[in-house]
Amino acid sequence: MIAEPRTLFDKVWDAHVVAAREDGLDLIWIDRHFVHEGSFHAFDKLAARGAALARPDLTFGVEDHYVPTRTRALDRIDPAIRRMMEQLRANTQRHGVRLFDIDDPAQGIVHVVGPEQGLTLPGLSIVCGDSHTATHGAFGALAFGIGASDVAHVLETQTLWQKRPKRLRMTIDGALAPGVSAKDVALAVIAALGSDGAAGHAIEFAGSTVRALSMEGRLTLCNLAIEAGARCGMIAPDETTFAFLRGRPCAPRGADFDRACDDWRALAGDDGAVFDREARLDAAAIAPIVTWGVNPEDALPIDATTPDPDRVADPARAAHVRAALDYMGLTPGQRLQDIRIDRVFIGSCTNARIEDLRAAAAVLQGRRAVVPGLVSPGSGAVKRQAEAEGLDRVFRDAGLDWVGAGCSMCVGMNGDLLAPGERCASTTNRNFRGRQGPGSRTHLMSPAMAAAAAVTGRLTDLRALKRERG
């Protein structure tokens, strides 16, 4: 009998099933478990059970959510924040877990560090108590975020009970227009599916546009899969993937790497594999996108105007639009390009890799920012690379602050916050109310678009700015 053609997702999933229950729950083996400062609840649960950590060798700690970015001297920061880092240090030390702390040259945001260190590989199952774990799917890994109870379960057993999600293939074909990046593609995907449109699904991103993306771009795309409600996002590994991974510290070496590549090539979905849902986007139709509201699906091309709730037929949606405009301090029918900003933030696991910084620096080169802003590289490695290329100078010369690696103003846990009412052009992933501090107003966009906004002090069509320079 010929085996059923399988999708990438199913191949990776099937390879991890330890036990399958009749009711549809599978016990899944976990290859990599990342823990950050927020994992203290789970370590507390482990301690309460008096249990040991099952696989310290597959568990990796990263300091990112709370780390200070303007100083590395812990005695100079808020003791409550320092305590979060100390707890992680104590927990990882007690259980013999490798920790990337802020003194480690490889430290950074967990979803940047994993790929950089070659801890993230095709065909692995990866979990972390963080929803943007979906990022690692860019390598063809099965990667998803979990809460503290499940983190505790993985700590104790290195497994997780999971129901197989449905499969959604998002095919994106065609060439991207100049000035349009993976972030715009991702925001277009969210706008097309809705912020809960892919709930219960694993998204596989396919098509010529996706194949042409660099690893950095693919990471951005999978990072935002969660903002469409998906459990995870995945991209079949290919030569781009292998080229990125070769020589990474924790990746297989020499002939082992080549043998691994053979296995990884076979992970791509079979011809005729069936998806539960299919969706398509035309890359050529995607323009630079910004969000105007309080959810990533509240997104529009930069040349559009804010929606008018009186023209929205669905009453629940109309109520949402009205409340979102009110919170954001905007009026219906306002041109997005007229919206003034107070600050820019370039960073986060969505857009703080080297390519992102290059794109932002290309816009800022020889220009001044008219608003203050923060540029936080995704990791120590990205920071060193950027400095070697002179990008830090470009940012500084433009008047922006060049700081250390961490989650920083994406979530503000370390104190990098907006003031109430302040409006930020941000390369992050969530424009939720208060995400960047109480009363903060966030507009999501690509790094180049954030840089353009910094130059003009308002949401700006990057393409017009480019023309201006000629």
């Binding site: 609840h41 109870s149 503000g412 208060g434 009363g439």
Partner: protein, 204 residues
């Protein structure tokens, strides 16, 4: 885990779309230990202004909603971060069931892990329930055996994954179940070592 069979209590309307985890508990409160209780931070910035005074008209703080244990809201409740603190805030406040047309996946999993029922209803039924509450109804009855919510004259069906339903009804803890599979896990690990030799991280 405390089993969930039938729950009757005060229901509160939350006529908002996409109440995300940053609303359920703002990040700045997550440094605290669970032992201190997270209930006071539930929906903090929607409930309280910058000075900490209650915002007038927020449904959860209306006198007739005192002791609310059932929330009825719009689609995409709990979208966003994996922070289980969002569920802790609800549970510590006393909420036992959230009724909505859709939930963030990770939130729903976290809810079930803590004995909180995410009950999925159609958008039309959510609107009818919210309207009845806004018109003055206060109590609801949630029956997980029959998967129905009764509120005033309304009696609507809700959906929940059967596996989650069984877990909530029985109050099962996952980890004990897993530990009973130790032999299967060991067999998997042994076979996997030859099947996927590249899966073990190299030491730099």
């Amino acid at each position: 885990m405390r089993p969930f069979t039938i729950h009757e209590g005060v229901a509160c309307p939350l006529p908002l779309t996409g109440v995300d985890t940053d609303q359920l508990i703002p990040a700045r409160f997550m440094k605290r230990s669970r032992a201190e209780g997270y209930g006071g931070y539930l929906l903090h910035d929607l409930r309280f202004d910058e000075t900490g005074a209650p915002r007038p008209g927020f449904p959860l703080d209306a006198p007739q909603r005192a002791g609310a244990s059932i929330l009825v809201t719009r689609r995409n409740f709990g979208a966003g971060s994996s922070r289980e603190a969002a569920v802790y805030a609800l549970v510590d406040f006393g909420v036992r069931c959230v009724v909505a047309p859709s939930f963030g996946d990770i939130f729903a999993q976290n809810a079930v892990n803590n004995g909180l029922l995410p009950a999925r209803v159609s958008e039309a039924d959510a609107e009818r329930l919210i309207a009845a509450l806004l018109a003055g109804e206060t109590r609801a009855r949630v029956d997980l055996e029959t998967c129905r919510v009764a509120l005033g004259a309304l009696d609507v069906a809700f959906a929940i994954d059967p596996v989650w339903r069984a877990r909530l009804l029985n109050g099962w803890e996952d980890v004990d179940l897993t530990l009973s599979r130790a032999a299967e896990i060991a067999a998997f690990v042994a076979a996997d070592r030859t099947r996927r030799p590249w899966a073990i991280p190299q030491r730099p």
